[in-house]
């Protein structure tokens, strides 16, 4: 059985057939590793295949999953305890990466990748999107293996756009016009965007870049009082205040995707991952009416989606590093990246998207094409690049809520800038 599987694996790893059989998958046989995962479609997609890895390697994998907020807390608390009870975990490098790396909690992975005794020949790091590898590399070294690579895109209701003869927005101005035209028509709100404080930061980011703004100045001061920021937040909060659903300041992605799935939103922009919720008739009443479009261009004239990467990382305190690494490379190998892509998780390996199997089974080629195209230019810095990212997200989140509620945008941002600079002072 094991042998047969080994052969099957090898056959998949094109071009390295002979070598694959020589790689010792069983070098950590008999160990057990503990893995913390976010309740994410990737987790759902990979879980059924875990026994395959356990048979291949003889390593037992104990998985715990939590909803995102609890998940992030749990990982932090475990790492901070320094006990080494945790071996691997999911990480958004752009969120906690700086903090974890500076705290000495992340195992650098580059030496593992380059060690043929530890890494199977077919691993092929070059197969990952450069954006994914860039996102997962902090401080010059690889700290995670990318498992998911999404970009911000526009989701819209094809039927409504057709019915009211509206073109798919290509610019922010067209986006606002479409939201205005469709607002309160057929029981929908014009546009949905995240408005729940800190959670909105990552989705404000592409609008910020579209207005030509950025997070920090070269001397690491907050740039929140720049005109670009004021324009971006005025635009973002104006869309929500004028054409958004009631109560948008409590909405993050679950609320927005729910509303869209129930046919109460004309469009929204958010991570491409959410397609899987919207085109599934069991969870969506508009499954056959979802349109996908590239993130529109801002006043700068450029399209500025952000690229959000989830990775699998190893705890520096882990006591089973070999077993953990075997698990990580298996979980992100070509076959498994294809499997998760077939479950609608935007994979981070080019080979998965380019495979004949995916192309044959792809129900939404336009979604795939947009994702791939956007990855060429998407900005991976979707969070303020600071160590205390949670706190700065929260500071900014309060400015976002104030703006949506009609407060003075410039004042709110100036206050946020001052508070952020206080946080940054401590990081010097």
């Amino acid at each position: 059985m094991k042998r047969m599987f080994g052969l099957g694996m090898a056959a998949l790893l094109v071009g390295s057939l002979g070598l694959a059989q020589n790689f010792n998958w069983e070098q950590a046989r008999g160990t057990q590793i503990r893995v913390l995962l976010n309740q994410h479609p990737w987790t759902t997609a990979i879980t059924p295949f875990l026994p395959e890895f356990e048979r291949l390697s003889g390593v037992r994998v104990v998985v715990e999953t939590f909803p995102e907020a609890q998940f992030r807390n749990k990982v932090l608390v475990e790492l901070a305890s320094g006990t080494g009870a945790l071996d691997a975990f999911m990480l958004t490098p752009n969120q906690e990466g700086n903090l974890y790396l500076k705290s000495g909690w992340l195992e650098p992975l580059s030496s593992y990748v380059s060690n043929p005794a530890l890494t199977a020949p077919g691993f092929d790091q070059a197969d990952f999107f450069p954006a994914s590898i860039r996102a997962a590399s902090i401080g010059g070294g690889l700290v995670g293996l990318p498992i998911q690579q999404e970009t911000t895109m526009l989701f819209y209701r094809k039927d409504l756009f057709q019915k009211y003869n509206i073109a798919v927005p290509k610019t922010f101005a067209e986006l606002e016009a479409a939201a205005k035209a469709l607002h309160n028509r057929d029981g929908v709100a014009g546009i949905g965007l995240r408005g729940r404080g800190a959670a909105a930061t990552s989705q404000l980011a592409p609008y910020l870049f579209g207005h030509g703004g950025d997070w920090l100045s070269p001397n690491r001061r907050s740039r929140f009082f720049d005109t670009e920021w004021v324009n971006a937040l005025t635009f973002y909060s104006g869309l929500l205040r004028n054409y958004g659903p009631a109560g948008s300041t409590t909405m993050s992605w679950p609320e927005i995707t729910s509303l869209f799935a129930q046919g109460k939103l004309a469009m929204f922009t958010d991570g491409s991952l959410f397609k899987s919720i919207l085109d599934d008739p069991r969870t969506s009443t508009v499954a056959d009416k979802v349109g996908y479009a590239a993130f529109p261009a801002g006043p700068t004239g450029k399209r500025t989606p952000v690229a959000i990467t989830w990775a699998l990382s190893m705890s520096k305190a882990s006591k089973n590093k070999t077993a953990t690494w075997l698990f990580m490379q298996w979980a992100t190998n070509k076959q498994n990246q294809l499997r998760v892509l077939l479950a609608d998780v935007p994979a981070s390996r080019k080979s998965a998207w380019n495979s004949a199997e995916y192309k044959a089974k792809d129900k939404t080629p336009e979604w795939s094409a947009i994702n791939l195209e956007q990855l060429e230019y998407a900005n991976p810095v979707w969070n303020p690049p600071v160590v205390a990212v949670g706190e700065v997200r929260d500071i900014l989140g309060r400015a976002i809520v104030t703006a949506i509620n009609g407060g003075n945008v410039r004042d709110a941002l100036t206050r946020a800038a001052t508070q952020t600079n206080t946080v940054l002072d401590k990081e010097r």
Binding site: N98, G104, W105, G197, T250, A388, E391, V401
Partner: protein, 300 residues
């Protein structure tokens, strides 16, 4: 008091036990509670004098009372104290008023007395996470059943917990729903243990039911009312589960009470020292209020 004879050995041993029962019996429980509560509390106090991040990414340093000085200048702290106060000031008086009314409704011959009293207890014994989730579904501005009721009654839709001004009253409503039954049964017990004589005397004087209430019931009920008030004040100030599940302190920080802020600071911003100071402030406030209510009760 103990009459043990000095002849037999086992009895002498038990007389030692008996003489020291006053310490031996509560000893293990006290020791356990000390280890479980007072030691962490001391640890927490130590943390509160440090500018300590959960990790080594930022340096830890001793700052003395520095965190506390920062707190006094932290507008978010003052906001959280204000939200906590608002929440408590809405929830607790309403619980006392409705609790008293329900207690009086129950303090008669009631059909199906047993089942009625059992059903009334349900909100306070149900798992807070579960009921908070259900209320969150009911509050949903687009799909919640509460807005359906409002519309049916001809009132407009409400944003409920999505509205900055309504979020604290809405959360207080959940707290009122959950804890009024406790106040009601405490007051009911108070009503049922009242002596009969003052009522007889007042009736003979020809007092109306209204006068009877204000002249006899109300003064006699004072100790019980204060007990219920103290209990509810302490818990309302510390409310965590329902706020964390329903709003996580939002929109913005419009429903962020001190307890929720401290949780954020500690487990989301990882500023352990600062969170410890916030928790100390919360503890001081709760203690001060509990002591204050008790002083008020003695003054009466």
């Amino acid at each position: 008091m103990t009459q043990t004879s000095p002849q037999t050995k086992p009895e002498r041993r038990s007389s030692f036990i008996d003489r020291n029962l006053r310490w031996l019996m509560p000893g293990p429980a006290v020791l356990l509670l000390f280890v479980l509560t007072i030691l962490p509390l001391i640890f927490n106090l130590v943390l509160s004098t440090q500018d300590r991040f959960v990790s080594a990414a930022q340096q830890s340093s001793f700052v003395g009372l520095g965190n506390y000085l920062d707190i006094l200048r932290d507008e978010r702290f003052w906001n959280s104290v204000w939200q906590m106060t608002k929440f408590t000031l809405i929830a607790v008086p309403a619980q006392l008023v409705f609790g008293l009314l329900i207690a009086m409704l129950l303090n008669r011959q009631v059909p199906a007395q047993g089942p009625v009293r059992a059903l009334i207890l349900l909100p306070m014994i149900s798992t807070p996470v579960a009921i908070a989730l259900i209320w969150a579904l009911m509050f949903n501005p687009q799909l919640g059943v509460l807005n359906y009721f409002l519309e049916t009654l001809g009132l407009g839709r409400s944003l409920w917990v999505a509205d900055e001004r309504l979020v604290i009253p809405a959360l207080a409503l959940v707290d009122i729903w959950q804890w009024t039954p406790l106040v009601a049964i405490i007051l009911l017990a108070g009503l049922q243990t009242m002596p009969e004589e003052p009522f007889e005397a007042a009736r003979i004087d020809g007092a109306s039911p209204w006068q009877l209430f204000w002249r006899v019931t109300w003064p006699l009920l004072q100790p019980t009312l204060f007990a219920a008030l103290t209990l509810r004040l302490i818990d309302a100030l510390k409310t965590f589960d329902i706020i964390e599940v329903i709003t996580q302190g939002g929109p913005g920080i419009a429903s962020e009470t001190l307890n929720v802020y401290a949780f954020r600071a500690g487990f989301e911003f990882f500023r352990v020292g600062y969170a410890a100071s916030l928790l100390t402030m919360l503890l001081l406030l709760v203690t001060a209020i509990a002591v204050g209510v008790n002083l008020l009760r003695r003054a009466r």
